[in-house]
């Protein structure tokens, strides 16, 4: 007999309706290319932010330089394809793997650092990669001109519409989120969470903290880099300014807005922040200011993120109902 290891919630109906909506988005968007593009970008960000969630939400390691991995993925796939003509999907996997390797190399010495100093090292790493993008030796990144990429195709199929790309993105999201689900509910995932909760005790439980921090960083880098690779093949062009520290902060904001340390949190966060940014497009000049104000509001009012907020409201609601009914029972006894 299998004893449960966590409170079982019947989510099947919810999951099916979620999946149905996701599959039907291109129809719901009614052929509006721009709206569809927005959803494609949301897919990219979901994978990128889920990656950040693995290292920060689950393992507790703060990274303010994830845009660097995003860049490695984007530039890597384009350079490999443009220069060597390798199949695009292969270049995406290769550049994400390169990012994972670099992430591991960075995490190894950085695992000694905690919090502020760790975040400083990630900021420094992010800046170094950015400097490399704008001043590349031999101009491989084309510096400030930005990088163009050719028609996106996989296994011979050429993607001509945003709708087609959307379904590709959906498959990627399913794969990456599925892998994340397996990873966090496993021995490795528990080690990550233990390190976040109590690094000292985790060490005492036989968890090689350094090894797992490196694993978390490398995995996270792979995710965000692959997302970057997806991005360049969606937009066909990138400019170095997409990969500044502001982008790293955006990833983190989306994660915290939605709720870290969960599967759905990043989705909530990405969707809400992206829609918010889109709705502010008219106020181009005030965009950064409003963004800063929003960050402050989230920090002060919603520390658990939207997803955390919903969960709390749901728990409060259930608690309120329970108390209410108990109260009625007591009244009956009197």
């Amino acid at each position: 007999m299998d004893l449960p290891n966590r409170p079982k919630k019947n989510r099947t109906l919810l999951n099916i309706s979620f999946a149905a909506v996701a599959l039907l988005i291109p129809l719901l968007a009614g052929g509006q290319e721009y709206t569809l593009l927005l959803f494609c970008i949301i897919e990219v960000y979901i994978i990128a932010v889920s990656g950040l969630d693995i290292v920060f939400g689950y393992c507790g390691q703060i990274s303010l330089g994830h845009a660097a991995f995003y860049a490695i993925g984007a530039y890597g796939t384009a350079i490999l394809h443009n220069t060597f003509g390798l199949p695009i999907l292969l270049t995406m996997i290769l550049s994400a793997s390169l990012a994972a390797l670099i992430g591991a190399l960075l995490a190894y010495p950085a695992s000694k650092l905690v919090f502020h100093f760790l975040s400083l090292s990630t900021i420094a790493f992010g800046e170094i990669v950015y400097q490399f993008l704008i001043h590349s030796p031999g101009g491989i990144t084309k510096n400030f001109n930005g990088l163009f990429t050719q028609r996106f195709s996989i296994f011979g199929y050429v993607f001509r519409t945003n709708a087609a790309w959307y379904y590709f993105g959906l498959i990627c999201v399913a794969v990456f989120l599925g892998a994340k689900y397996y990873l966090v509910n496993s021995k490795t995932g528990r080690a990550f969470t233990a390190i976040r909760e109590n690094t000292h005790a985790a060490n005492g439980m036989g968890i090689n903290v350094r090894k797992y921090k490196v694993m978390a960083f490398a995995t996270s880098a792979f995710y965000t880099a692959f997302a970057g690779a997806m991005y360049i093949h969606l937009a066909s062009y990138v400019h170095p300014d997409t990969f500044t520290q502001r982008q790293s902060v955006l990833f983190l904001t989306m994660l915290l807005f939605g709720g870290s340390g969960s599967l759905l949190g990043p989705i909530f966060g990405v969707v809400s922040v992206e829609l918010l940014i889109e709705s502010l497009r008219a106020f181009q000049d005030y965009q950064v200011l409003i963004y800063g104000v929003l960050m402050l509001i989230v920090i002060v009012a919603l520390p658990g993120g939207l997803y955390g907020g919903f969960r709390d409201i749901a728990i409060l609601g259930k608690g309120f109902l329970k108390n209410h009914s108990r109260h009625r029972l007591d009244k009956g006894r009197e």
């Binding site: 290891n5 490795t188 969470t193 909760e197 109590n198 005790a201 005492g204 439980m205 036989g206």
Partner: protein
């Protein structure tokens, strides 16, 4: 089982543990007692790998383990609990125990990420074993509650059973009875003997003399970093140095 050979730990100018040599016999309960600040927890920290001794050796089953990292020492077969409760607060009780099993689980990163059939089997049996551990200490009702929601005494029990989950040969208990009421201490007494029956050797730091005298096979007394006295409970109780150390002008 465990021998320390003149272990010394210094922090700057302060010598917290001064050339302490002792021997823990297998399948017995050994206690380490002494006034506050005697260096007992520092000594524990040295055995469990948190500190590296300035000099001296720690030998566990004929292997020198001083200077090894805490996770390596756990893999060797030594577990510990902490003076301040160090649970994984947001995980539920069951998960805390499963984390304790970490060194005994074989699955790796890739088998975790792709959830191979072997990994699924291992996870199922791990959680089953964890339930058994909870039954062993009487916590199975709280299995799915967050660890932080337990009462203080139950949290202490969880710490102990989490330490047992890795099937250690030796477990170090740092003040397990702290904050317990007398009923809970009585239950702890029984639990310690149950742990012994499992074949796990126990080294315990405790302040509650009644518990110590009732449960120990052998006692070491530490004072100001020095090994002051050792012996059976009877011998230690009547040792004049020990009486002075506890009652006389420190």
């Amino acid at each position: 089982m465990l021998t320390t050979d003149k272990v010394t730990i210094k922090f700057g100018g302060l010598t917290a543990v001064n050339a302490v040599s002792l021997h823990i016999a297998p399948n017995k309960i050994t206690s380490l007692i002494g006034p506050n600040g005697a260096g007992k927890t520092t000594f524990f920290n040295c055995i469990s790998g948190v500190y590296k001794p300035n000099s001296g050796r720690v030998i566990f089953n004929e292997k020198e383990i001083q200077g090894k990292k805490p996770y390596q020492i756990n893999e060797e077969g030594i577990s510990r609990t902490y003076q301040i409760i160090n649970l994984f607060r947001k995980m539920n009780v069951l998960e805390n125990v499963v984390v304790g099993m970490h060194p005994r689980l074989k699955s790796g990163y890739l088998s975790d990420m792709f959830r191979t059939p072997a990994q699924r089997k291992e996870e199922r049996s791990a959680f089953r074993k964890a339930h058994e551990w909870l039954e062993f200490v009487g916590l199975e009702e709280d299995a799915l509650n967050p660890a932080a929601s337990l009462s203080y005494g139950k949290q202490r029990l969880l710490e102990i059973v989490r330490g047992l989950a890795s099937d250690p040969k030796l477990i170090l208990l740092d003040e397990p009875a702290a904050g317990m009421n007398s009923k809970e201490k009585g239950e702890l007494d029984i639990l310690l003997k149950k742990i012994l029956d499992l074949g796990v050797t126990i080294l315990v730091i405790e302040h509650d003399m009644k518990l110590v005298m009732g449960v120990s096979d052998y006692i070491y007394v530490l004072s100001n970093g020095l090994l002051l006295a050792q012996g059976t409970p009877m011998e230690v109780q009547n040792n004049p140095d020990v009486i002075t150390a506890y009652l006389g002008g420190e």
